[in-house]
């Protein structure tokens, strides 16, 4: 049994949990739902004792195991070492028996049907999905009475989600109490016996049945227009801003395309077909192996991000593990917004505070960044959605003409996603040229004038947009593939 009563927790002046109460019974799967910053992660950290609450109590009976969203595996150890970190097989002298470590780990992985992960591999070399699976196996292997999973499926593919669901159900049958969080409503509907909704650090409701529409309303506290905004048409004869020909970099074999002013160009395809390399190469964060880039008709060499920024290219890049996004997490919202335009803000090397404050205020208002003290509050203390808004704000301040948006809505709650959709349409209307990638194909289908489908590092198809139907993009990325 797991019972949380009247827990409050603040960080600095920010209240992450206010008098939160919540209980889960043995033999049930209990979902925690809420937007980013609703306090789910904090609650989970309180549950498993990583954080001490300012007030309130947590009662548990039985062994508790947790798998975190920010992976808690030691990156430089092998998978086997991570699996047995807390209780390695030891010999008579108390020394770790290295010879049996890997075989034991193999056995454990096989028992959980994860024979595709090499127990001798260094953890950092695994994909995010495999790392997440190792983290889950480590928690499952303890056969706990209470299992707490924070966003366990965010990095997983369908089949892996099914694998996890099977284990969660098995534990439930054994009388274990399983608590998990997810941003994907379908999983919550499939798996959870009960759902508890959190908003602004407080408990809103706990129900056995809850529809998605009602849940979104409860989570955001307002009803949300779930439709995509209408894209303004690309003006006839709009100038070509970016011309890419024969670009090769990393997994990107050879890609050529034009991007026009006021156009949103989508980059679709299955995961890992060179999309990330395309974005990073255009921004100069990854060395291109060949090909040319022209900006407004002039050839452009980008060897480092500084070259791209000078030329008027901005990138909002949210990598798979979300740990670094180009933001300086310990620095304030103000510093993070201003760092891209320090040249413009300073005279004789001195930063003009009034100009800086005005710029920061304008972005905070325009993007609706929720920060209690934007001038001093570290960006790392904001919710994920607000962090992404700050990243976006930095490039809007630089007046970049070309925006490279890579998965900006990843791990963001519904309300913030909606804000981003509106923003993308507005930016296109103001004549910005936008290259858009999203791990949610649905977004590419609705938000783009044209869609390039990448396969094995080449453009496999070009679709006229808005495609409207994500299935078409998926079909195009699979076609001719046996």
């Amino acid at each position: 049994m797991l019972m949380v009563s009247g827990v409050s927790k603040s960080f600095g002046g920010v209240k992450a949990l206010r008098d939160a109460s919540f209980a889960a019974r043995p033999g049930e799967i209990h979902a925690l739902a809420g937007e980013n910053g609703a306090g789910k992660s904090t609650l989970i950290k309180v549950l498993c004792g990583v954080l001490r609450p300012d007030s309130g109590t947590v009662q548990t009976t039985g062994e508790l195991a947790t798998a975190f969203q920010e992976l808690s595996l030691a990156p430089d150890l092998t998978v086997a070492e991570n699996l047995f970190l807390h209780d390695p097989p030891r010999g008579r002298l108390g020394l770790v028996r290295r010879s049996v470590l890997a075989p034991r780990a193999d056995e454990l992985l096989r028992r959980f049907g994860v024979d595709y992960v090499d127990s001798r591999a260094v953890t950092a070399d695994l994909s995010v999905a495999h790392r997440q699976i190792v983290e889950l196996v480590r928690a499952l292997a303890t056969e706990p009475e209470i299992l707490v999973l924070d966003e366990p499926t965010a990095a997983l593919q369908e089949s892996q989600v099914a694998w996890l669901a099977g284990h969660m159900r098995r534990l439930r049958e054994q009388g274990c109490c399983v608590v998990f969080t997810s941003h994907r409503w379908r999983e919550i509907e499939d798996l959870a016996d009960r759902v508890t909704v959190f908003r602004n650090g407080s408990h809103v409701t706990t129900r056995e049945k809850l529809g998605e529409a009602e849940a979104v309303t409860l989570m955001s506290g307002r009803s949300i227009d779930r439709t995509y905004p209408r894209l303004p048409p690309v003006p006839a004869g709009a100038d070509r801003t970016l011309t890419v020909s024969g670009l090769r970099a990393g997994a990107l074999r050879e890609v050529s395309f034009d991007l026009h002013r006021g156009e949103v160009l989508g980059v679709g395809g299955l995961a890992g077909q060179g999309q990330a390399d395309l974005f990073l190469a255009l921004f100069g964060a990854r060395r291109a192996a060949g090909g040319t880039i022209q900006l407004a008709g002039r050839p452009l060499r980008v060897r480092r991000p500084r070259d791209a920024i000078r030329a008027g290219i901005g990138i909002a890049y949210v990598p798979e593990d979300r740990k670094s996004e180009g933001l300086l997490l310990p620095m304030s919202v103000r510093d993070n917004l201003a760092l891209g335009i320090l040249d413009r803000l300073s005279s004789a090397g001195l930063v003009r505070r009034s100009a800086e404050r005005a710029a920061v205020r304008s972005m905070v208002t325009q993007l609706g960044i929720v920060a209690s003290r934007p001038m001093t509050q570290p960006v790392g203390t904001l919710s994920g959605g607000n962090q992404q808004k700050v990243l976006m704000g930095r490039w809007l301040l630089t007046d970049a003409e070309v925006l490279l948006l890579y998965d900006v809505t990843r791990g963001v709650d519904a309300a913030t996603k909606h804000d981003f959709y509106q923003l993308i349409a507005q930016l296109a209307e103001r004549g910005k040229a936008i290259l858009l990638y999203s791990s949610e194909t649905e977004e590419i289908a609705h938000l783009c004038h044209r869609v390039l489908v990448l396969r094995e590092g080449r453009i496999a198809a070009e679709l006229a947009g808005p495609v409207g139907d994500a299935e078409q993009i998926v079909a195009a990325s699979m076609r001719e593939r046996r």
Partner: protein, 305 residues
């Protein structure tokens, strides 16, 4: 910063106590002045070290650069021209460090360990035996034994830092230190920032060398060496994070004063000089415990967000 002030207040109170019980009266203005003149070189080296540590690096060669500066000015009769030469050469030494670290991508600890050897070797070549002199006119301006000219330099140090903090360069130092990859993705010229930081550190060592010769009236080609550890200690006491990006040089300045006070406390308490090193070490441990306590609390606060 907070714990640096705490440590400084604690050390100062102890100093007052020990001084008055052993001499029967409060410290005179003369005592404060000589204390200030003794402190100044370490204050400057500590500022330089702070800048480097804020970018996530470390500079072990401060001792070598300072020794070289001391050797040059003392060997050249301590004229104003010699002082100016010292500032230029020391800055160049720092820039060399910066280029090796930023362009050559050699770890700061390795780079500066190597250049420490080079610079102190050059210092011995310039002034093989202790000696040399300082021009009395220059001395009257720098560290007058009776007139508090030292206050000007202290003011310049504090003021210089406060201005730097407000500059574009100052902001970039913090950005590079808190996440170099993210800073690069923001378009910050990381190489230039690092070269600038090591160069400024060299300049600070040069200023410290000039002030040191002025305060002691002669030169010793090994005199810079103790400043390696004391400057790092001042940075630690000052609460600057060795991972970079957090802290203030003002803290390190307070740390530098506290470290100098400890030596005086031991002297007035009549502690056998043989035990000095032992007590200084104890002081450092206590100060660091105070600091790391504060850092731990900060981490706990951040981890949850």
């Amino acid at each position: 910063m907070k714990q640096a002030l705490l440590v400084l207040t604690g050390t100062y109170t102890t100093y007052l106590l020990v001084y008055t019980t052993s001499l029967g009266h409060l410290p005179t203005p003369f005592d404060y002045l000589s204390l200030l003149n003794t402190c100044l070189p370490l204050i400057f080296v500590a500022i330089g070290q702070s800048l480097v540590v804020l970018t996530g690096g470390i500079d072990l060669s401060v001792g070598g650069i300072m020794s070289l500066g001391i050797a040059i000015i003392a060997a050249r009769g301590g004229t104003a021209t010699a002082a100016l030469t010292v500032l230029i050469i020391c800055t160049a030494c720092g820039v060399l460090n910066g280029l090796l670290v930023a362009r050559g991508r050699i770890a700061p600890i390795l780079t500066t360990l190597a250049t420490l050897s080079i610079f102190s070797g050059l210092a011995l070549r310039t002034l093989p035996v202790p000696g040399g002199s300082i021009d009395p006119g220059l001395r009257a301006v720098l560290t007058h034994p009776d007139v508090p000219t030292g206050l000007i330099w202290l003011g310049a140090a504090v003021g210089g830092w406060l201005v730097l903090r407000r500059t574009r360069f100052g902001m970039r130092i913090y950005a590079v230190g808190s996440d170099e990859a993210a800073a690069r993705a923001t378009g910050i010229p990381v190489v230039r920032v690092k070269v600038g930081v090591y160069g400024l550190c060299g300049l600070c060592c040069g200023i410290a060398a000039v002030l040191y010769v002025s305060a002691t009236t002669s030169g010793d080609p090994n005199a810079g060496m103790p400043f390696i550890l004391t400057s790092i200690a001042a940075v630690v006491v000052g609460g600057i994070a060795f991972t970079g990006g957090r802290g203030s040089a003002l803290g390190a300045m307070a740390g530098a004063v506290a470290l100098t006070l400890v030596t005086d406390v031991l002297f007035f308490a009549g502690i056998d000089p043989l035990y000095q090193s032992l007590f200084q070490g104890l002081f450092l441990v206590v100060a660091v415990l105070l600091g790391s306590g504060a850092v731990l609390a900060g981490n706990r606060r951040r981890a949850a967000a």
